[in-house]
Assembly symmetry: C2
Homo-oligomer: 142 residues x 2
């Protein structure tokens, strides 16, 4: 059974999204994604997992956390869920501390460019597009 | 290796999205999704697959087809891609003809309600949220 996942849309005070460039062995491609990963059973909550993933993969922490939404990545075969969080006021608090075998590079991108990254296929991970959707929906809704 | 997938945002002339209610064995839940499915190797193109899935799952055909975008459902483990199409001017052309074992119910929903369905968790399938993102991005972009 696949573990639950968390994803983080982390935005700095000056309007940049904190992304990670990563080599994915499934597609054998270098991808641009948002921080996230599998839930650690020892963590107390999805929010705790999200904080840990942001800190480990990017070295960033954030002032304000909001739960944006939950999706089923693949309900035909899997029972796991992916929860997306918004982390505002993100700022570096130290060096990244990725899991062994993970090679990550932190990339800051102005939020106004995210839509273009998705449209041009630079960001192709379905769950990252989902995160953009939640974030964008939140911003556009009164 | 997982097959490629196609998904279809089908919209009727009077502004309703053609959705399908379906029982998913992975999550053991009845879900609300858009028409779509695995690519048939005998089909000539992703567009041909999309037309076939819309016709088989809903009985609908459409006047105008637009390719919205492509995502990797799970690049950590899979190499398959999911292509989303917009099908405008959708209208019924006969009875659905689902694959054996598929139990589908066609549901027409005004497009203005899609965002609320996603926010309230009625639609939870990651690739359907991706499709909403593509469609919404297209509409909001000059």
């Amino acid at each position: 059974m696949a573990p639950d996942w968390v994803n983080v849309v982390a935005i700095t005070a000056d309007g940049k999204a904190v992304l990670v460039r990563q080599f994915r062995h499934g597609t054998e491609q270098t991808t641009l994604e948002i921080p996230g990963g599998a839930v650690d059973p020892s963590d107390r909550s999805a929010l705790a997992d999200a904080r840990r993933e942001l800190r480990e993969e990017t070295g960033y922490v954030a002032r304000r956390w909001t739960r944006l939404g939950v999706v089923d990545p693949n309900p035909a075969f899997q029972t796991n869920a992916c929860t997306t969080f918004l982390a505002e006021g993100a700022h570096p608090a130290g060096h990244p501390d990725p899991d062994e075998g993970e090679e990550l590079e932190v990339v800051l991108v102005p939020v106004r460019r995210l839509k273009s990254l998705a449209r041009r296929g630079v960001v192709r991970h379905a769950l990252v597009i989902v995160a953009f959707y939640w974030w964008w929906t939140l911003r556009r809704t009164p």
